[in-house]
């Protein structure tokens, strides 16, 4: 998947001179995950810049650059380090268009790895997307395949408003797929149906979509036909697609790696409770990370929802 991300950068930089890549180690090193590999050599050190080691700097300078005609694509090295940037994201990046009545705007993409599962050190495996999804004026996107990483990153860069682009760590290397380098963006604010099914809807995003698909395959072997939806844009939520799916299946299981409390899953459940309650044949189930700290890696597989937990939740939903 990481090559698809690099490819999307390169396409857009080639076709739009205002796109500038910034971040820690994104230059000669090509990013710690190699997401920007080769870009500095190709586009020069003005357009692919290492920043000082300071996340508020990365976000704050992005605001200034974006308000003055550039489209910064900024990398925050790990999601656990995004917090110093939140001040700039919340107070400025997402408010610029609003508070100046459209006079200035902030077309910024902040890319950051998301989630655990690769035995990384402390603070390197976080999935705190809920913090971001609560911010008005911000899009939060999380691809779950190389093709969607390519298409959604292009869409994010072309979007006139700020986007946080969460890249599932587990998929950087694990997932391989041929991707056409044709510059075609995929739609933001839309879900993707990864597997059609008639008995239950499983909504997930990022790396958990793979586990959800595995669960669906297992369930299939016992005669349960699960639909698997990749949320893809976590904010704003594509309510319409989820409600349509639940109307067909009558059951909903939400799967995410992030902690449960006030998670994005809760918002999805609330949307379905408000607008699709009478389509439900069983209570909504959530399979999520625990409301604990993401543990160091010897326990991380106990934290991240397993395929079995998803299978069990679906079966409970069908038992009612």
């Amino acid at each position: 998947m990481v090559e698809a991300i690099t490819m999307a950068h390169a396409w857009e930089m080639h076709h739009d001179a205002s796109v500038v890549v910034i971040g820690q180690d994104v230059g000669a090193n090509g990013g710690v995950f190699r997401a920007t590999a080769g870009l500095q050599a190709r586009f020069g050190s003005d357009r692919v810049q290492d920043t000082p080691l300071a996340e508020a700097t990365i976000a704050g300078m992005s605001v200034g650059m974006a308000a003055h005609g550039l489209k910064p694509v900024a990398e925050i090295q790990f999601m656990g380090f995004i917090y110093p940037a939140l001040d700039q994201i919340i107070n400025h990046m997402t408010r610029m268009r609003y508070r100046t009545r459209g006079r200035l705007s902030c077309p910024v993409v902040i890319r950051t790895p998301h989630g655990g599962g690769i035995h990384a050190p402390e603070h390197h495996s976080e999935s705190t997307e809920t913090l971001l999804c609560h911010i008005p004026g911000l899009r939060v996107v999380c691809p779950s395949s190389p093709a969607r990483a390519y298409g959604l990153l292009l869409a994010a860069i072309r979007d006139p408003d700020p986007v946080v682009f969460l890249e599932p760590l587990r998929l950087y290397r694990a997932m391989r797929q041929e991707v056409m380098d044709d510059g075609r963006a995929m739609p933001l604010d839309r879900c993707f149906i990864l597997r059609e099914g008639s008995d239950v809807t499983i909504v997930s995003w990022g790396a958990m979509t793979l586990d959800s698909l595995r669960a669906a395959a297992e369930l299939n072997s016992v005669g349960i036909d699960a639909e698997v939806i990749d949320l893809a844009t976590l904010s704003p939520i594509d309510s319409e697609s989820i409600l349509a799916s639940v109307a067909r299946t009558g059951r909903l299981v939400i799967v995410h790696e992030a902690a449960r409390n006030v998670g994005v899953g809760a918002e999805i459940a609330a949307i379905v409770a408000e607008h699709g309650l009478y389509d439900l044949h069983a209570p909504i189930a959530r399979v999520t990370g625990f409301d604990t700290i993401m543990p160091l890696f010897r326990l991380e597989q106990d934290y991240i929802p397993s395929v079995q937990r998803i299978v069990d939740a679906v079966r409970r939903t069908l038992a009612d």
Binding site: A54, M61, G64, L70, R97
Partner: protein, 360 residues
């Protein structure tokens, strides 16, 4: 032990508090009509400021941060900048903004609780007021980065207060500007007080200008009540930055003659004697005296100027007070470039339950 590095902080003053020349006259100051224009601008912002405080006191304006005493710094900076440069203000630098074309009605609109005040007709490219302390310094650095990448001969200028220099963002912006040689100038308006906390409690540093040293950029102190010195120092810094010479940090020493804002009462924490002493150093009389001595000013002109300013301020106040409350829809407009379905649903709810108050 060997000394491996040495640093100095220079201080600049041209007109002393009595309006006497104590330093060499910069080229721009040979042009007396230009100095009259600067004096008029300083007077205008003071007349405006008095009126704005009165509007707040009579319930016709929200909380307002007076700029009383800062006129020389604000006009000196304004006059030193070029129109195409970008200003990243804090929230008190009305003098600079008026000089650059922001209108008094726009200022009142914003402080009267209406985002439309941020939609400056002129200059379109300046940043809006910035309430979260020090965050604007990074915006200026980012804008400067854009100018540098596009090879445009433009500069960004960020204001910051003395209290703001304790924020991490400020150090980060200085560091970035130095590390990337950005065409940006930072102006610290050291008015002695961050609400109730004096500079001596913010830092043990002897000057705030020396905070530039760690970033590897020049730090200069200037008499912030001396508009000639401010314009000279800021003008030189901008020209250096514009021609690839790198950033600069300027500390303008002035005094907040007012409360922090209309919501503050400075009598609670600072002695009257200190304020009295500061009035003796305030910016307007010294330039007036200088102009008088050079035959460019007299009582008649002063009276005419005050009348003229009052007229302009009254017109702006009328425009502001007669402005129609923004539509409820404004909350939903401009959040995203294109409307989103869930926000359109919420817009309909907001419309249905919209308050009928005038909103002043």
């Amino acid at each position: 032990m060997t000394i491996v590095a040495n640093f100095n902080v220079h201080y600049r003053q041209i007109l002393d508090s009595q309006g006497r020349l104590v330093g060499p006259l910069p080229a721009f100051a040979e042009d007396l009509p230009e100095l009259v224009k600067m004096y008029a601008a300083m007077t205008r912002v003071r007349v405006f400021d008095t009126k704005a405080v009165n509007l707040q006191r009579t319930g016709q304006l929200g909380t307002y941060p007076s700029s009383l005493g800062h006129e020389a710094t604000h006009i000196g900076v304004g006059a030193a900048m070029r129109p195409e440069d970008v200003l990243a203000p804090v929230y008190r630098e009305f003098g600079t903004q008026l000089w650059r074309g922001v209108t008094m009605a726009e200022i009142l609109m914003y402080w009267g609780g209406d985002e439309r005040g941020n939609d400056f007709a002129v200059p379109r490219h300046d940043f809006a007021w910035c309430v979260p302390i020090a965050t604007q310094t990074l915006h200026a650095a980012g804008a400067a980065m854009a100018f540098k990448i596009r090879r445009e001969p433009r500069c960004a200028l960020a204001y910051i207060g003395d209290g703001g220099t304790s924020e991490g963002c400020f150090y980060e912006a200085l560091n970035l500007a130095g590390a990337r040689d950005l065409p940006v100038v930072f102006v610290i308006v050291n008015n002695g007080w961050a609400i109730s906390v004096p500079v001596a409690s913010q830092t043990r540093a002897q000057t705030l200008a020396q905070k530039a040293v760690a970033a590897g950029i020049p730090g200069i102190q200037v008499d912030g009540n001396d508009v000639l010195a401010v314009r000279a120092v800021v003008g030189e810094a901008l020209e250096t930055a514009r021609h690839g010479g790198g950033p600069c940090l300027i500390e303008a020493l002035t005094y907040r003659l007012s409360d922090h804002t209309t919501a503050d009462d400075a009598n609670r924490y600072r002695p009257e004697s200190e304020v009295k002493e500061a009035w003796a150093l305030e910016p307007l009389p010294r330039l007036r005296e200088y102009l008088r001595r050079n035959g460019a000013w007299d009582d008649a002109r002063e009276e005419e100027l005050l009348r003229d300013c009052a007229g302009q301020v009254d017109a702006a106040v009328r425009e502001y007070l007669h402005s129609v409350k923004p539509s409820t829809d404004a909350m939903f407009d401009h959040l995203f470039a294109t409307p989103l379905p869930h926000l359109e649903e919420q817009r309909a709810i907001a419309r249905k339950y919209a308050s009928k108050s005038r909103g002043h």
